[in-house]
């Protein structure tokens, strides 16, 4: 069975088979249960079912647990309600494997339609290990690597030679079926895989406000903006501190 699946994958996933139309057609989907444990932050918005639709040249990571509309809740440690913006698309991350490029959509202060920035896929310096573990019909190999401030353990399937995975993880010689950060904060638990030539969904870029800059550039400009806001506020006699809340990504280097 595994052999048949692998043949199917190779048939559909072989780069030579790709063209502009079939590039958008997924051949498989991995489902992950994501948990992000950051007490005192609105990290609960990140928890829930996520999935990765993929073919050989593109993949699309979606958070199905994202709220469709905006919501807010009262947290005792904050004066005003915490406002969480929803997204009917599930804040997709669209990955172009050969270009090693990603487009990620996220909730931002600049646009109610959400922001889209580019990012680099597969720049993680993975260390490959000989450990093996089975996930569904696939035997996976272990790899460890640091991605934006957290060290991850990832399990990838060599039988599915697609350099993608949950969130912005990728760049391994096989599809990542499970991953977790070693600090225990972020986990993408394998919850199923389906490979079919009748897969629903389409691999297309997210809709929203394209800022035309990279994630690194965006975060640098945000840092600058809030530093200036803090300085101006203090200069006008307001005692204030402004800081970034911890998130899945703790840093924003390329």
């Amino acid at each position: 069975m595994k052999f048949v699946i692998s043949i199917l994958v190779l048939l559909f996933a072989w780069p030579g088979q790709a063209n502009s139309q079939s590039d958008s057609i997924p051949i498989g989907r991995v489902v992950y249960a994501r948990t992000v444990d950051l007490p005192g932050t609105p990290s609960m918005r990140l928890n829930g079912k996520t999935s990765l639709l993929f073919n050989s040249v593109r993949s699309l990571f979606i958070h199905h647990g994202a709220f469709a509309g905006d919501t807010s809740y009262q947290d005792d440690q904050y004066v005003f309600p915490v406002h969480i913006k929803g997204d009917s698309e599930g804040f997709p991350i669209y990955k172009l494997h050969q270009e090693r490029r990603m487009l990620s959509k996220f909730s931002c202060r600049q646009s109610d339609a959400h922001c889209i920035v580019s990012d680099t896929l597969g720049h993680i310096n993975w260390k490959l290990h000989s450990d093996q573990k089975d996930f569904g019909p696939y035997t996976c190999q272990k790899a460890t690597g640091v991605f934006r401030g957290r060290e991850y353990e990832a399990w990838y399937a060599l039988d599915i030679p697609i350099p993608s995975g949950p969130h912005k993880l990728g760049g391994l010689p096989g599809l990542i079926l499970e991953a977790r950060s070693l600090d225990g904060v972020v986990e993408y638990r394998f919850a199923g895989i389906e490979i079919s030539n009748r897969m629903k969904g389409i691999l297309q870029p997210p809709s929203g406000t394209h800022l035309g800059i990279s994630y690194t550039e965006y975060m640098d400009s945000e840092k600058q903006f809030f530093e200036n806001l803090e300085k101006e506020a203090r200069a006008s006699g307001i005692n204030t501190t402004i800081s970034f809340l911890p998130d899945i990504e703790l840093s924003w280097e390329r």
Binding site: S72, F80, R109, A233, T240, I242
Partner: protein
Amino acid sequence: MKKVFLLFALLVCGQFTFASNPVQTLPVYSDLTVDSNSIPTDIHVSIEPEEEPDLCWNCATCENVLICVYCICTNTEDCADSYDKLFNLLCAAGCCYNVSPD
């Protein structure tokens, strides 16, 4: 016997020496200076440290950013004002959304 004689001789000579210089003059200090090394260090003076003022923090989130405005808790006027200041900062960041000060 020899030892007893020697001891006796020493005692008699010593008495003669002190008796020839019966008055010892004491030095007179015209300028009194205090040698810091001579100040005793085991005197403990209890000084109450100035207490840090209690700060009251009012915080709110703006996407992935935490903005806090603080005030000295006893300054009720300033603390009441800090809600407005925080709200204005949130709006300056484009994050006042649908929140409004109480």
